[in-house]
């Protein structure tokens, strides 16, 4: 079967917000994954290291977990925050 993507491309244009959204998510993904290269990290540790709002880190980290890039490691000593690892 031929590719149908060309049919829709003739009818619709990609919106600027979609383009920006892809850039933003990829940049965030790269930054968050890089913080976990050496050891597991908690959300507050990542937010502190990247100087990003906590809720932004939580949303992206949980999305990366859903997509299979990250896995849960253990709870901290205070039983408050989980640590997260890169998925091997």
């Amino acid at each position: 079967m031929g590719k149908t993507i060309d049919i829709i491309k003739q009818k619709r244009k990609v919106s600027e917000s979609v383009k920006q959204n892809i850039k933003d998510f990829n940049a965030m993904k790269k930054k968050i994954l890089a913080t976990m290269e050496i050891e597991h990290k908690s959300i507050p540790q990542i937010a502190e290291e990247l100087q990003l709002p906590l809720d932004v880190v939580t949303y992206h980290l949980m999305t990366l977990q859903k997509f299979g890039f990250i896995e849960v490691s253990e709870l901290d000593d205070m039983d408050e925050y989980y640590f997260y690892n890169l998925k091997k």
Partner: protein, 429 residues
């Protein structure tokens, strides 16, 4: 030329009420068409954790019922579709136009393998996880969706073509367009359910502004095995909460926001969630701020007592304002109704027990006048003797489209609707 199809009954809405009414009618030999506007059937129930007061797993009850509906030889289901221009031509003779919107994925070829999702570069909020995490622009709506096939969110698509290249079943089809079908039916069931109150309409609760103020539906998602996070966590910082507050009647029994009636389910679903949270977070304190606890159904009062015995705190209090303090914690200012004084309490997560409202735009699907009740639910023209009858003869209502109710009552209401329709259709046979 527009295609035309014939059925005995058109069921609008594929939630638990629509499914129940359809199975009852199909089992009696009637041909049923379910038109569901969402990508999957199952309504709200398919997204719930457990159900009060039995704490049975909601998905375990919904999934078999939904697959029985989907596999029934007398039932046809059109998801991602809408009905319009329903016109009563004569008794037992309705005509309508069903519009099937394109998924850009061939339902019959998609195996739900999700390989396309892996390749898609776009991430947007996942509406089925109530925006707590993201999803791709091409996506299988959720793991127990029916049909479990992908769809492309065309508004957010980057038209990169990666999904089409990757799909091993050649299921992606960007050439799809919307299709109108003319249908002829003998009777109609409205099972369009309810919508959730939008808590942004009460700015003093801080929803949208403070990330640790969430809705009960977001908590339902946190309590299911396919949850958005790895545990019950605060959306602001991923912390495990240990002092959780519930605010009952958020958007119900409140003239100021235009909904003076009780939503019937929020007390009990909050009591349910509190019990489930005590299992998930054994060390957490849970406080329910209520005006009155409406535990009217079978086993409901015992269920409420059980929550008290488990250690859930109940405070008869009216919440004035919620503000964020240190570390994402929240200060609740409330009137203690028993003591008649204003007090403050700190919590680290607040759940708004949002009310349920009538869906809009249902009556405009009909060319004839379909009357609504004062709260915009479908008017039952003979509430006591024939509760499913509407103001158009031959059009019936099932479940929460007629008013707030829980799942057992929705199922009973759907049973009543199917019995009344069978009687109406037999008049003709």
């Amino acid at each position: 030329m527009i295609k035309s199809e014939e059925y005995d009954v058109l069921v609008i809405g594929g939630g638990i009420s629509g499914a129940e009414a359809s199975i009852n009618l199909a089992n009696q030999g009637f041909k049923v068409l379910i038109v569901e506007k969402d990508l999957s059937v199952g309504g709200k129930m398919i997204h719930l954790s457990k159900v009060f007061p039995t704490l049975d797993c909601s998905a375990c009850i919904t999934t078999p019922k939904i697959s029985q509906t989907a596999r029934h030889p007398n039932i046809t289901i059109y998801t991602y579709s809408q009905v319009n221009d329903i016109e009563k031509k004569s008794e037992h003779n309705f005509q309508a136009i069903v519009t099937r919107y394109p998924r850009y994925v061939k339902e019959e070829d998609c195996t739900g393998c999700q390989i396309c999702e892996e390749k898609c570069p776009v991430v947007v909020n996942d509406q089925y996880q109530y925006d707590l995490v993201g999803r791709k622009a091409v996506y299988v709506p959720f793991s127990i969706a029916n049909p479990r096939v992908a769809a492309i969110d065309i508004e957010n698509c980057s038209f990169c073509g990666a999904c089409e290249k990757a799909c091993p079943s050649e299921a992606i089809d960007f050439s799809q367009e919307k299709i109108d079908i003319q249908i002829n039916v003998k009777s109609v069931v409205i099972a369009t359910g309810f919508r959730l109150f939008d808590p942004l309409l009460i700015p003093r609760y801080g929803f949208g502004k403070y990330k640790n103020v969430i809705t009960a539906m977001q908590m339902e998602r946190q309590l299911v095995p396919t949850r958005p996070f790895n545990h019950v966590l605060r959306p602001k910082d991923g912390k495990m909460p240990d002092k959780i507050a519930y605010v009952l009647c958020a958007g119900s029994r409140d003239e100021t926001i235009g909904n003076p009636i009780c939503s019937q389910v929020c007390c009990m679903y909050s009591v349910k969630q509190a019990q489930l949270l005590m299992g998930a977070l054994p060390l957490a304190d849970i406080t329910i701020y209520y005006l009155n606890i409406r535990s009217f159904g079978k086993g409901f009062n015992e269920f409420y007592q059980q929550a008290k015995d488990m250690g859930v705190n109940f405070i008869k209090g009216k919440i004035g304002k919620i503000t964020e303090t240190d570390n994402g914690n929240l200060l609740l200012r409330y009137e203690d109704i028993i003591e008649g004084v204003v007090k403050e309490a700190k919590h680290d997560l607040v759940v708004l027990s949002v009310g349920i409202l009538a869906n809009q735009g249902i009556s405009s699907m009909f060319k004839d006048t379909l009357e609504l009740d004062p709260f915009n639910y479908i008017k039952q023209s003979d509430e006591l003797a024939n509760p499913a009858k509407t103001t158009i003869r031959g059009v019936y209502v099932a479940g929460t489209a007629s008013g707030p109710m829980d799942i057992p009552d929705s199922i009973l209401s759907a049973g009543a609707a199917s019995a009344e329709i069978a009687g109406y259709l037999r008049l003709r046979r």
